[in-house]
Amino acid sequence: MNPLAAILIRDMRIAIRVGGGALMGVLFFLVVVTLVPFAVGPDLALLKRIGPAILWLAALLASLLALDRLFTADHEDGSLDLILMGRAPLELVVAMKGIAHWLTTGLPLIIAAPLIGLFLNLDPPAEAALALTLLVGTPALTFIGMIGAAIAVTLRRGGLLLAVIVLPLTVPVLIFGVAAANAAVVGPVPFGTPFTILCALTLASIVVGPFAAAAALRQEME
């Protein structure tokens, strides 16, 4: 079997079988969104306006949660040693792990987002735009996030460091994701402008992320 297919299948199997699987991220997503009206008040008009931003922030934080274990689990049980001794290029192996992470974390969020958008009184066009921007933007969150996950791999309390490193790097994705989601509902900027930039950010991160993460992993192993 192809080594890259092997690692993709393995990571997805583990993600589905262990703990709450994909649903934990969705639950966290829901909890964060529920907290917002307690903080800003229940005014539905306000919630509708900031809805896309809240959902993007919540999706970002939920994605971040699962990144913590992306490499540390393999490091802790000795799998990372053996992965480095395999003949498949580490950059591609890391990219496969990223794809598995997105399929099991990002995709459920995208499916849940429109339902959770109902709590924030979003209209159907806003829901559709939001789902589309999340679909295109969440891979960027995974592939940028993996850089922090690789840097923090040997650390016990790596979670906070990971967040501190990754969150600033994800700001452009957040800006253009929310801008695109809003542009579909409120003028005057056409949806296409921020959306194509979002696509570009994602494509760039899919290339840069694995290279940076692989380099960080090699450094950490010594």
Binding site: A6, R10, I14, S79, R87
Partner: protein
């Protein structure tokens, strides 16, 4: 860590690395793989594949077993075999050889430490690589499992493989050379930042 260390191991030969705890047995193996920096000197696998690093032509049996508890015994083995470029998908003979065939579908979480070790050993049997780097390979194994392991090691040597094993135990591997790290000049290690 140490200096003035040199050795050669030929095809069909085994080198047993001994020394007290902390002498650097594990570090030596990890140096050969490339996980620990070598300040001066080099490691070479002569007549190996020039395109591949030493690590890519070696098997490593470390302290940990690299098993995922939520995957079954056979799923774990099939993953590593697939990842390390084996072209088969059925590894019943290897599982049988280590005595885990009856537990093939059991989640690895249920295995004892010795059974997990045996599953790791099955990995060495499932994928052919010339160099075996073994760190305390017999730890957690009972007497019969140890015998079986020595049998596998003999077979590997007969097929022209090379073994470096770091261990406290007596393996009973006939004709093996010994490298005592206690006799090697220790060198102060710069504190890592």
């Amino acid at each position: 860590m140490f200096s003035g260390l040199g050795f050669a191991v030929a095809s069909g030969e085994a080198l047993i690395v001994t020394g007290r705890n902390g002498a650097g047995k594990s570090s030596l193996l990890r140096m050969i793989i490339g996980f620990v920096q070598i300040a001066h000197g080099r490691i070479e696998l002569e007549d190996g594949d020039p395109e591949l690093t030493v690590a890519e032509q070696a098997h490593y049996l470390g302290h940990q077993d690299a098993l995922k508890p939520s995957l079954s015994v056979s799923e774990n083995l099939r993953f590593w075999a697939g990842f390390l470029d084996a072209d088969r998908t059925d590894f019943r003979p290897e599982l049988d050889a280590v005595g885990l065939n009856e537990l093939a579908d059991l989640p690895a979480a249920y295995l004892s430490a010795g059974q997990r070790r045996r599953l790791s050993i099955a990995r060495l049997l499932a994928v052919k690589r010339p160099l075996w780097l073994l760190d305390e390979p017999t730890s957690t194994l009972d007497a019969s499992a140890q015998e079986r392991l020595v049998g596998f090691m003999h077979t590997h040597l007969k097929e022209g493989g090379i073994i470096l094993a770091a261990t406290h135990a007596t393996l009973g591997l006939s004709g093996a050379k010994e490298l005592r790290l206690d006799n090697i000049q220790p060198v102060a290690v710069e504190a890592a930042p």
